[in-house]
């Protein structure tokens, strides 16, 4: 069954309470932040605290990520914290990480080589540590296709709109026309590579209607999930991204009929007077998979 990543809830890694409380909000994924949410002189404390948490806290069904610090500076020099984050957290149990400011295939290759070394050294299953590449610059978005497809460690790519609009010289608006190209580029790249696309955050916590409108566009564009900055956003996204039982039952009927008629790979049939072909069967299969992942059906 495919792992759901409808919500990725950020939590600063230097807050002890959030390290054990965040699962109660039941996000599909928790992303403990070592990057922007942590002051420079607290990077060491956050890293060590998260490492100790990973050794003992049971996060249940939540998929745990860390947003590590970048491995490279904007001028491509070695950055001070990223490698230390990886060297500390992987032996402690981290198996998923978001690499911020990812711009080129070389960034992924550099991280992957480091992970090869750590997997070997600590007896961790080879290639089991996975990467989510965060594309948040013009160059990163431009290289989305290559990055998404460059490694079996990539399970998803995510979009960061604030840094992207900064690097583009655009104004970030709620309406979002300035990020439409980047969002579609990322969704297309992810679909081609067979990985998940995760949409950017919505920072205005007071504007629930604006948030819902954005989540609707997240779904319509083809993203499978959204980064969330507050627990209140998790429920909204789950409600909007989880199919209704009516949709699920209809999809189950289509999937079952297609299997019985042996047209899953080609051909057409009729159900309740409507023509059913491969794209409709594929959409029905996706809804069934989503319903299973969300626990609506077994």
């Amino acid at each position: 069954m495919k792992k759901l990543r409808r919500t990725m809830l950020f939590a600063p890694a230097n807050n002890p309470k959030l390290l054990f409380n965040t699962p109660i909000y039941e996000p599909d994924c928790i992303i403990f932040d070592l990057e922007d949410a942590i002051k420079i002189d607290e990077k060491d404390a956050a890293r060590n605290l998260l490492a100790e948490a990973l050794k003992v806290v049971d996060y249940g069904n939540c998929e745990v990520f860390a947003r590590i610090n970048p491995l490279r500076t904007p001028t491509n020099d070695k950055a001070p914290f990223g490698e230390l984050d990886v060297r500390t957290l992987v032996p402690a149990g981290l198996r998923r990480m978001r690499l911020p400011m990812c711009e080129t295939v070389e960034h992924i290759e550099e991280l992957s080589i480091l992970l090869d070394e750590l997997e070997e050294k600590h007896g961790i299953e080879k290639r089991s540590v996975k990467i989510q590449a965060s594309l948040e610059t013009v160059l990163g978005v431009e290289n989305a296709r290559e990055i998404a497809a460059c490694s079996d460690r990539i399970t998803s790519i995510s979009f960061g709109s604030e840094d992207y609009t900064k690097s583009l010289g655009a104004v970030r608006t709620k309406e979002g026309s300035e990020i439409f190209f980047a969002r579609t580029q990322i969704v297309v790249a992810a679909a081609l590579a067979g990985v998940d696309a995760i949409d950017t955050v919505w920072a205005d916590l007071g504007d629930l209607e604006g948030f819902k409108k954005e989540v609707r566009s997240t779904i319509n564009l083809g993203f499978v999930g959204k980064s969330c900055v507050h627990p209140s956003q998790v429920k909204v996204v789950h409600e909007m991204m989880t199919p209704s039982m009516e949709e699920v039952e209809k999809s189950l009927k289509i999937v079952k009929a297609a299997k019985e008629a042996n047209i899953e790979n080609g051909g057409v049939m009729q159900i309740d007077g409507k023509m059913i072909d491969i794209p409709i069967i594929a959409k029905a299969q996706k809804i069934v998979s989503l319903a299973k992942g969300a626990g609506l059906i077994k």
Partner: protein
């Protein structure tokens, strides 16, 4: 020689480490010392052992921290003390 890590906030702990001493001493300051003092001290000792520290004075001011928080803060305080010129 000295390193500090943590916060005076609920669920956190403030750990001070001095590496310029001989032997190990651990002082626990906590409202819950009677109930959890032993496990708090154990968390500190495990952190010292993992980093091969044989000489340290450690003061733990607890604000309701779980053991993993004590370990994370203690390790960082030790690393900061080493960075500040302390050695073992």
């Amino acid at each position: 020689m000295k390193g500090i890590c943590g916060n005076e906030k609920a669920s956190d702990v403030l750990v001070s480490v001095d590496l310029s001493v001989i032997g190990i001493s651990i002082e626990i300051r906590s409202k819950l010392k009677k109930m959890f003092g032993y496990s708090m001290e154990k968390a500190v000792r495990e952190s010292l052992d993992e980093l091969n520290i044989e000489n340290a004075s450690v003061i733990v001011e607890d604000f309701g921290a779980l053991d993993f928080v004590i370990k994370g803060r203690t390790k960082t305080a030790i690393e900061r003390a080493i960075k500040n010129g302390g050695g073992n």
